[in-house]
């Protein structure tokens, strides 16, 4: 074989390899390394062991960003599974207007997060926004939405004389507003995934169930839900990972410096961003990055383990 043909497979990879190494592999490794250093606007000040991590574990604003992110994930993921699942069940099979529904439901998926945020900021405006307009027209009290720092459980229970505090006050209404937008934006995508999953269930199962006289609910519980579990599981993992990284919505709808009213929409990536690019505290920001990476990796591994036991693969 000629030398040319022996090295040519590598030459084909070379352009992609250079980019991947320079702008993925090296920055990823640098992130781990930088988390053990003091690196700020003045440059590199040497290795400092675990001090960035020690600082992180005692940083109240960091922990509040973790809490906010967990609230966000716990709100967005279940809604982002339940609503698309119902929609996919409704949309399956022959249906008049299917193509129009698909267009409408999918539209927010391809729309930029920034434009979506600008529009929803206006919809949520406390003074003149259309959403409060509807609430007032229906005889309700207008809400502060993106500017409301009070927790939603606190808001619901305080008229009853109960005052939940701390975590029990729940996510702020501002954060819940962001969750609503996030769910709205991802509904179309998850619905498409569920529709594909439903199509993979062989019709024979449904025929057998009908012959056995199973009702609609029984068919769903014993056939659709278990056979759909690989899809459900995939949607669960992907939306958890995506929700953990939410940034653009927070940045545009509750802009810096605050991270929302009283910091209640300050999520991990927003906090990381501020530390890295407002304060240029690269060392500390890298420690937060590593924390984020480990959480996401851990979640993926955990969900995969649980998934292997629970999920039904046909």
């Amino acid at each position: 074989m000629r030398t040319g043909s022996r090295i040519s497979p590598y030459l084909y990879i070379l352009p992609a390899l250079i980019i991947v190494i320079c702008f993925r592999t090296i920055p990823i490794l640098a992130s781990f390394t930088a988390s053990f250093t003091d690196y700020d606007i003045g440059g590199f000040h040497g290795f400092t062991g675990f001090s960035n991590y020690e600082r992180m574990f005692t940083d109240a604003r960091f922990w509040s960003s973790v809490t906010n992110t967990v609230f966000f994930v716990l709100g967005v993921v279940p809604a982002g599974i339940a609503i698309p699942l119902v929609l996919a069940m409704l949309l399956r099979g022959e249906l008049r207007g299917k193509a129009i529904y698909r267009t409408i439901y999918f539209l927010p998926v391809v729309t930029s997060a920034v434009a979506v945020s600008v529009v929803w900021t206006w919809l949520f405006k406390p003074e003149a926004g259309p959403i409060n307009g509807i609430i007032i027209a229906l005889g309700g009290d207008p809400l502060m939405w993106l500017r409301e720092p009070r927790g939603i459980f606190e808001m619901m229970l305080s008229p009853l004389g109960i005052q939940p505090e701390g975590i029990f006050a729940g996510p702020s209404l501002a954060l819940v507003s962001l969750m609503i937008v996030s769910v709205w934006k991802s509904i179309g995508y998850n619905t498409v995934l569920f529709l594909a999953g439903l199509e993979n269930i062989p019709n024979t199962y449904y025929e057998a169930a009908r012959l056995d006289g199973a009702g609609k609910f029984g068919t769903f519980r014993h056939i659709t839900w278990p056979l759909l579990s690989p899809t459900t599981f995939y949607v669960l993992i992907m939306s958890t990972i995506a929700s953990f990284q939410t940034f653009a919505l927070v940045y545009v709808m509750t802009p810096p410096p605050g991270g929302g009213p009283l910091g209640t929409t300050n999520v991990i990536v927003f906090y990381l961003f501020q530390k890295a690019f407002d304060r240029f505290d690269i060392g500390y920001a890298s420690a937060i990055s590593v924390f984020l990476f480990i959480v996401l990796l851990g979640l993926t591994i955990f969900q995969r383990r649980v998934g292997e036991r629970r999920v039904h693969y046909s």
């Binding site: 539209l107 405006k125 990381l272």
Partner: protein, 256 residues
């Protein structure tokens, strides 16, 4: 049965109204008071022309880069056998496991060291390859029969000639998917350009719109007009390519 169908349609219609309402509000508010004049006003208030042009340049050049590097790498990974291939492929795939925010800060430091901060290079070069695109194309190249390759070689087709004249023309659908994913990704990209550029002449549409939102926070008509024209190009692309796009999303199960 008939009643069931009506209930189904009613639920889907209600859901559809909620989904499309924000867009309708956006358009109707953008036309309040000044009508279409709001669009001209918004366009001229800040240099949206520059932002559009920058986004077009970045999207276009990034796409060309992705198509070249991905075809070459996928061709090598998918059709050739050589030592270290699988290790290299794993190296590529492993970078997909790490989300962008994790390596954002060190990327900035690297760009600063290269002197690329606030240049087109910073906006384009790091995104001129896309591992997921390589993966999609590699999967497709693997399905092409070996006999095809051998026949082409007998006809005097070079290795590169086979990629260019045989393999790529047989991959139009995958290429279209890659193009759609990358155009949408570049057009909507926000965090990266926000970080790596500072000057207004390099500002892309998404960053420009977010600043416009902060400066004009009470001028709803102009904000909604700007949002509308910033969405419009992708909206048109989506309406034309939606069947292929939605199919691609559901087959490959990935976004962004």
């Amino acid at each position: 049965m008939k009643g069931g169908q009506i209930l189904k349609q009613a639920m889907l219609l209600a859901g559809g109204i909620i989904m499309i309402m924000p867009f309708l509000w956006m358009i109707s508010t953008s036309l309040e008071q000044g009508g279409l004049h709001n669009y001209i006003e918004a366009w001229n208030r800040v240099p949206f022309g520059t932002y559009f042009l920058n986004t077009l340049i970045v999207t276009g050049l990034t796409l060309i880069g992705v198509l070249i590097t991905s075809s070459l790498a996928a061709y090598s990974f998918g059709t050739m056998e050589y030592p270290g291939r699988d290790v290299l492929f794993m190296l590529f795939l492993s970078t997909m496991m790490v989300p962008q925010p994790v390596y954002l800060a060190p990327s900035y430091v690297i760009l600063a060291k290269l002197g690329w901060v606030d240049t087109y290079l910073a906006l384009i070069v790091p995104w001129t390859t896309n591992v997921f695109s390589i993966f999609l194309l590699r999967q497709h190249f693997k399905t092409l029969p070996k006999s095809l390759f051998e026949a082409a070689r007998l006809d005097g087709c070079s290795r590169f000639g086979y990629l260019w004249r045989v393999a790529l023309p047989l991959s139009k659908s995958v290429i279209a998917t890659i193009m759609l994913f990358n155009v949408i990704g570049s057009w909507n990209s926000f965090m990266w350009p926000l970080v790596v550029t500072h000057s207004e002449k390099l500002r892309v549409l998404q960053v420009g719109l977010s600043y416009f939102n902060q400066e004009q926070s009470s001028n709803y008509q102009l904000l909604m007009a700007a949002s509308t024209f910033s969405i419009l190009p992708l909206l048109i692309l989506f309406l034309f390519a939606q069947k292929h796009l939605v199919g691609s999303y559901s087959r490959s199960g990935i976004k962004d």
